[in-house]
Point group: C2
Chain length 440, copies 2
């Protein structure tokens, strides 16, 4: 055990081995819960004071849900846990030799470190894109997108000129994974059921929703059938799906594709790539494409008291030679796995290897429309898949309070065909620009 006697983060030395967890996402909170009262001290770091249920972020962005409905205070999720500490800091560096992490308020020693930092949007070095496109990985991102979209509509309502109006009514979603597909579907429903009542002077046949994917299919992490069905359903809803299309640039006015085709648009959503958070101090040979290489125990082989779970972990195996998919289930199972194993590893008891139990894969497209891959190559589409999607998401929400609020909102949305959260709470101002037309 390391010396924990002093630190500037006011974590007492209780004599128990200290587990530091970086990140309060699915991996982090499940690891922390499994360590409950097991003889460890647990210190959780996150730059937000809440856990985000990421699979529903697109509904916050498209006015279907309130941000507080899909988030829970981390201190509340882990309350009553003995010798547990939460600290609202981003961990800025790791020192694996001295067993120490750094934060802006000082350093902290650890006996075990669990890195569950998740991923950030990856713009692949395209600075213009990073400046002008909107990612969708956090609650502030979702509120930015909601504001930008509503602000564009307000601006569109100010002009008679179709050339000025067109880009304000055009949205381009880059990335044909679940985020792109689900956001496209939700926007198409807003266009059909909600917006014409709010903006009677606008003709919503002018509004275009483009979904752009570099590969020849949608939902590449799901079955061929799921991808094809999503495409068919979205196209029926009026979404323009462009496959085999790579994006070159977006200057805030025009998005240009590699084939030199262009679209003028005020709103580009970027969900075409993610990268792990950076932790200076991890050796470059421990990483591959920004992910942390771990063994079958989610452990860095060269630093056996450091674990990585979730999106950030790259565990190569027979079944998943390129690592596991970046989904909530993997993070939850890895978090549980490491949390459970830590007691055994400390005692030197033998532990099993991690094995991902794939319960299936889901994406929703719209009202009564979803796609579902189940084990044994079973595929479901349409209404049944959609009901299962609803049920699964309510079930996995973090607290009973979240379940209650999301359920109430969904019942409301379903029966009224309305989505009530069309508020510009915090106007979105693009980096390096001043607020646009509709805002004063």
């Amino acid at each position: 055990m390391n010396d924990h006697s002093t630190n500037s983060l006011n974590i007492p030395d209780t004599g128990k081995p200290r587990v530091v967890i970086i990140g309060g996402g699915f991996g982090g909170i499940n690891a922390a819960k499994k360590l409950r009262n097991k003889g460890f001290q647990v210190v959780l770091f996150d730059k937000h004071n809440y856990h985000t249920f990421q699979p529903l972020l697109y509904q916050v962005a498209t006015a279907g849900l309130q941000p507080d409905s899909i988030a829970g205070p981390l201190r509340n999720i882990l309350k009553g846990q003995e010798d547990f500490y939460f600290r609202l800091f981003k961990v800025s560096a790791i020192d694996p030799e001295k067993n120490r992490i750094s934060t802006p308020a000082g350093d902290l020693s650890y006996d075990y470190l669990i890195i569950a930092g998740g991923t950030n949007p990856n713009f692949f070095g395209n600075q213009k894109m990073e400046q002008n496109a909107l990612p969708l990985k956090s609650i502030p991102h979702a509120l930015n997108l909601r504001s930008q979209f509503m602000q564009s509509l307000e601006q569109a309502d100010l002009t008679k000129d179709p050339v000025t109006r067109k880009p304000l009514l055009t949205i381009v979603l880059v990335g044909g994974g679940p985020t792109g597909v689900e956001t496209a579907g939700a926007l198409a429903e807003l266009r059909k059921h909600v917006l014409p009542k709010d903006y009677p002077a606008l003709d919503f046949r002018e509004m275009e929703i483009h979904l752009v994917e570099g590969l020849p299919r949608l939902l590449p992490a799901m079955s061929e059938k799921a991808g094809a069905r999503a495409k068919k359903d979205l196209e029926k809803m009026g979404v323009k799906v462009r496959l085999n299309t790579m994006v070159e640039s977006y200057d805030g006015v025009t998005i240009r594709f590699k084939d030199q085709d262009t679209i003028d648009t005020s709103t580009v959503v970027w969900s075409a790539g993610v990268k792990s958070g950076e932790f200076p101090g991890l050796k470059p040979e421990w990483l591959e494409k920004g992910r942390i290489l771990v063994d079958e125990h989610c452990r860095i082989p060269q630093a056996p008291n450091i674990f990585a779970v979730g999106d950030i972990a790259l565990m190569k195996g027979e079944k998943y030679p390129k690592g596991h998919p970046g989904v909530a289930q993997v993070a939850i199972q890895m978090g549980n796995f490491v949390g459970t194993n830590l007691t055994k590893l400390r005692n030197g008891s033998p532990v099993k290897s991690f094995s991902y139990f794939d319960k299936g894969n889901l994406a929703t497209i719209g009202r009564n429309k979803a796609v579902l891959d189940l084990p044994r190559n079973i595929f479901l589409g349409g209404r049944i898949a959609w009901w299962i999607w609803l049920f699964v998401h309510i079930t996995y929400l973090i607290s009973f309070r979240n379940k209650l609020l999301v359920f109430a909102s969904w019942v409301w949305n379903y029966f009224t065909f309305d989505k009530g959260n069309r508020l510009i709470i915090r106007p979105y101002v693009r980096k390096n620009t001043v607020p646009g037309g509709g805002l004063a």
Copy 2:
């Protein structure tokens, strides 16, 4: 009728007389609703795209409610109304001679103007106070206060030193009106039921809630009994009530009173004064202490096509020689009154004078604790008053969706003794400072 043929705000000339309404608060939306399909064109301006149910802002600030629960998109509230237009702009000036208002996007002519701009916090020229204290008049204000409070707790948890910790656990509420009283009560309940579970390392006997009022009593707009009962109930809950106390200064560290007593505190909430929004163009002799002097028809005598309703209107009468109280009921009734009368006034038909029907006055203090003044000097305190308070607030919420969400949240809060919205969605950064200790 004025010439409406061109404008840069894309409002068409439909041949109907144009009513411009400034402000989507209680006064503005009720006036607009009464004008529904009555042969007028209605154009509503607000700097937010939503209506705020201000009486419940303190619950958003104290984590009891989500911001979206007490707000409704203005376009949705007034949807389906013929020849109605919403514009997301602050009106910057009025030209009563040319019958024209100005916005950052251009001017607009009107035939009738209804000023329902409400009030803003009044710091009486105390710039240091304005820079450092937190007002509570809008949803962004409420979220700022929530963030500042939660951030202070995170910082308090970082230190062993009681001298550093004390100001972080001290809140001073300036102003003993409903905002101060209700916020103090809600904070006392958080301290008792919620925070000790979230911050087991902190001793919440150290946390101090001060409520400061310049007059010799609380709730000066209510009965003596209500004020005395509120004081007694709050003191039982551990709130330190200081009457006859005027504030001199607050530099972000220490609040100083006129009697030279001081309190060190990281959080000062300012609800000790309001002032009307400013509209350059209105003649100084039309105003008194920043409020617009109106006749018994809510009309500016010297400009009979301009009306003012709600807090901003000063109608002196026998019963209210200093004008009506600044409460939602007055704004609602004045908005309805002007909206209804406009048709009659246009036709030259006689109209009745405005007469405020005071249905009573309510303030809540905590669970099962409220004060209620009814007509004929009837006073109620305690549990019955509290249930009436709940019922009245649910009833007056703007949409069925708001009612549903607030009801669900309150049922949850009541039975669990929890308040779930303890999220720092947007960290609060005091003007002229950089983010503090707990944030990185």
